[in-house]
Every structure is written in structure tokens, then in C-alpha cells.
């Protein structure tokens, strides 16, 4: 059964639909890239998947034992975070909050999980450093470790490489690929079509053309061919 399934989804604000009739599924181990022009509703889709916003119509269902709030999330950085005085460990630990319910403090198991995920992201050495002093790539790793504390099976990434330099971008993509190989399903919003076609197993294209299918199918589809002809692929 699919981890996540969207049926006849229409999204938008105040009943103005930006995207209509969206259908797609995410299975265990999938790597789905959501691509589309600016303003085509990628971020709206992400917010709806996360339950931060209600869809206008249609439904999102989770299956295979995945609960609705078990989606890990790597948001785009906000202004508030840029000068936030918090240590790396504090931020990673805050990902465990959803497991702790009303209990006021984190227990040993949660602390162990935070340490483990910091190790996995290669940021254990930065543990006590202040978040605002880190480089963009390091900050993304911290937020990724936090997302892994919240959910181990499926991650939603909102433009994970925006603002990173080329080296950090490649590192980030490799890290995500490694997680995917470890069995974490990935849903990623991306501007970077080249990378999307390189790493993803499935593509969801929204905007003027709506398409969902495997990478190979996408390359043969109208949406995919149009993009290839426009030369968007390969230039970045």
C-alpha cells in the first residue's frame, strides 16, 4: 500500500484554485521531485501535504501504518532563524517534540535519537555551536537532522539547496540520496530540473501541464519534452 496518496486534489487560497485535479502516490523508497514554474503552487502543495493548509477539494490519505503527522519536513529558512541563538543540539532535539506529548523534558531515548541523527548528518562536531554562526550547508544539515528526529520514513524537502554554493549543493544532494537508499521516502520541491532528473525516481510536474509518473515516462511526456526543448535542462 502507498505511504501517501493524493486523490483529485485542488489547492489554493480562499477557494481560488491554483492547481486542480492532482493525483499521485508515494510508495516506500520513492524519490519524488515536484517541479513547476514559479507560482504554480509547489509550496501550496507542500503546505497541504503537511496539513498546514486545507485542500479546496480532494483528499490526502496515508497508508502502510504511517500517521498523518509522521512526515518529516525541511522548510525553507525563515528570517527569524537567521539570528536565532540556539545550539545545534537544541534544534535537533526539538524534532523529537512530537513524540514527547505533554512530558515537559526529553528522555534518554530521544536524546540518543538526536545524537544518532547528528552523527548521520555528520554534524556531531558542531553539536554545541550556535546555529546562526554556521554556513548555509551546515544549517541545512541541522534542519535535516531535526526532520529525521520527527520522522524516519518520509521526508518533505522544500528547495533544500536554495542559497547553497555548488559544493554544498552537491553534498546536500548526495546526503539526500543516501537517506533515500537507506529506505527513507523523499518528496522534494525543486527548481533544479537537472538534479531532479538525475536523482528522482518519480516526477510530479504542476503548472500549465500536469504530469505524474516515473522519470522515464516524464522524459517522453509532453511536459517533459517542452522543458527539454526550452533548454531548461542541462543549463543549470
Amino acid at each position: 500500500m502507498a505511504l501517501l496518496e493524493a486523490k483529485n486534489l485542488s489547492l489554493g487560497y480562499d477557494s481560488n484554485a491554483i492547481v486542480e485535479n492532482l493525483n499521485f502516490t508515494v510508495n516506500e523508497g520513492d524519490y519524488l521531485c515536484i517541479v513547476g514554474e514559479n507560482g504554480s503552487g509547489k509550496t501550496t502543495l507542500m503546505k497541504t501535504l503537511l496539513g498546514l493548509q486545507e485542500p479546496i477539494s480532494g483528499s490526502i490519505t496515508t497508508g502502510d501504518g504511517l500517521k498523518r503527522n509522521e512526515l518529516g519536513y525541511l522548510p525553507q529558512q525563515t528570517l527569524v532563524q537567521r539570528d536565532f541563538p540556539a545550539s545545534v543540539r537544541e534544534i535537533v532535539l526539538s524534532g523529537c517534540l512530537s513524540h514527547s506529548g505533554l512530558r515537559p523534558f526529553y528522555n534518554k531515548e530521544e536524546k540518543r535519537m538526536a545524537d544518532e541523527n547528528m552523527e548521520r548528518m555528520g554534524i556531531t562536531a558542531l553539536k554545541n555551536r550556535c546555529y546562526r554562526e554556521l554556513s548555509g550547508g551546515q544549517q541545512q544539515r541541522v534542519l535535516l537532522a531535526r526532520a529525521l528526529c520527527a520522522a524516519r520514513r518520509i521526508l518533505l524537502l522544500d528547495e533544500p539547496v536554495s542559497g547553497l554554493d555548488p559544493r554544498a549543493t552537491i553534498d546536500m544532494y548526495e546526503l539526500i540520496e543516501k537517506l533515500n537508499k537507506d529506505g527513507v521516502s523523499i518528496i522534494m520541491i525543486s527548481h533544479d530540473l537537472t538534479a531532479a532528473l538525475h536523482y528522482a525516481s518519480h516526477i510530479l510536474h504542476i503548472g500549465s501541464e500536469v504530469f505524474f509518473g516515473t522519470k522515464a515516462e516524464f522524459l517522453k511526456s509532453r511536459a517533459g519534452r517542452t522543458l527539454l526543448e526550452e533548454g531548461q535542462v542541462g543549463q543549470k
Binding site: 503546505k47 503537511l50 496539513g51 498546514l52 500517521k67 498523518r68 503527522n69 509522521e70 512526515l71 518529516g72 519536513y73 522548510p75 525563515t78 527569524v80 532563524q81 536565532f84 541563538p85 540556539a86 545550539s87 537544541e90 534544534i91 532535539l93 526539538s94 524534532g95 517534540l97 512530537s98 514527547s100 515537559p104 523534558f105 526529553y106 554545541n128 555551536r129 550556535c130 554562526e133 531535526r146 526532520a147 520527527a150 520522522a151
Partner: protein, 278 residues
Amino acid sequence: MIEKIAMYLEYPFVRYALIVGVLIALCSSLLGVSLVLKRFSFIGDGLSHVAFGAMAIAAVVNLTDEMLIVLPITVVSAVLLLRTGQNTKIKGDAAIAMISVGALAFGYLLMNLFSTSSNLSGDVCSTLFGSTSILTLTSYEVKVSVILSIAVVVIFVFFYNKIFAVTFDENFTTATGTPSDRYNLLIAIVTAVVIVLAMNLVGSLLISALVIFPALSAMRIFNSFLKVTVFSAILSVVCALVGILISILAGTPVGSTIVAVDVAAFLICFAAGKLISR
């Protein structure tokens, strides 16, 4: 000088002032870190003006226990204001400005129209700047302040991790299944309680200082949320103590003396922060 302080400490009203002052300083600084980081530095200002308006209503209807009116009105306003922070047509800062100036004008108007006191401008001035009210607390007021302060501290410690998560990243927290709305509401209510308490100490115009200065000072020097919170609490308490003692010895107004000490502490921390980062 020590003898002089010891002599003053013999008086119960000085002891009350110190106890209440320390507790209020502690409470206001705890929330300050979160409010500053959430870009709500002005919330204190807005709410205190609302509290001033409510105080005027209490004076007009001749209530003996002002808290009964002031506290609920301020809490409701805080909830409305912090709610508007996210998804409304009137944005956060505009909403705060609207409510605060409106309440201030309304309060002064009421006091003028229905005043029974012979010294109206004196009354207004002491509500706005606190003047000597901290030294005229009754034992009932002290009890109320102590109970509310303890409640604030307990709530803060109990929900510390949640407050951190909601402050750092509200969307993430909601998306992973923690009801951020509820904790925002909690922050709003506790903020309102702190503001009403702090009116006694520094008056409604100077409350923001008590909320933001210790937090900003601590953020210059420390790098983790826990350290920032703990240091700002300690700093705030020390500043309040020093401020109250100076004002007693030098006969200066309590509220503005405390704020002056807070400003001085901020400048020291700012310099220290620059030195450390070099």
C-alpha cells in the same frame, strides 16, 4: 551605605517592593527571549496601553480590586493580537499600533470625563511611569503578584521545550503534530499576565524595556537558547534589585531607574559581545 540599606529593609513596604520587583523582573525576562525572537518586541507596549485603558475603566466604575477588570481585558487583547500575527488582513505591527493607541486615548478620555480625583495628571503620570506604586503595595497585592509570578515560572519551565520549538519554527512544529496554536495562545496569555503584573513596577510605558532588554543583552553574549534564557533571567533580577535600591537611596522614580540600569547592562553586554566575537 550598607547601613542605610539595612535600615530601609526594616520597613515592610521596602521588602514587599524588593520581593515583587524581583519576581516581576524574572517573569518578564523569561518570555522576553521568545517575544523578541518572534518579532513581537512591541507586544509589551501594546498590551500595557490596553492595561492602562482597562485601569481607567476600573477607576471610573470605582472597583477596589482593579485586577478583576485589567487582567481579563489584557488577556483577551493579547490573544487577539498574537493571533493576528499570522493570517489576517491587518498585519501584526499595525494591529498592535491600532489597539495600543486606541486604548491609550480611550483610557485618558475616560479618566478625564469621570475623574473624581483632584490630581488627574498625577494619577495619569503614575499609571504611565509607575512612580511610587511599587512602594505602596498592600499585602494583598503582594500575595497576588507572588502567586501569579510563581504560576508564570512553573508554566514556562513545564512548557520550555514547546515554547522553544514554536519560537524557532512554527510550521515545522505544526507539521510534525504539535499544536502550535495552543502554545501560541499560552504565550499570549502568560505575556498578558506578566504585563499586568509589571505595571505595578515600572508603569505601562516602560514595560517593554523589562521584556526586551534582558533578552537582547543575553543574546549578545550567549549562543544557546537555554543559556540565553537563564542569563536574561539572572540579569533582569539583578538589574531590578540594583534599580530599586538606587531609587530608594537616591530618591529617583523606581520604574525609570530600573530601566536605566537595564540599558546600562545592555551596553555592557553589547561591548562584551563584540569583544568575544573578535
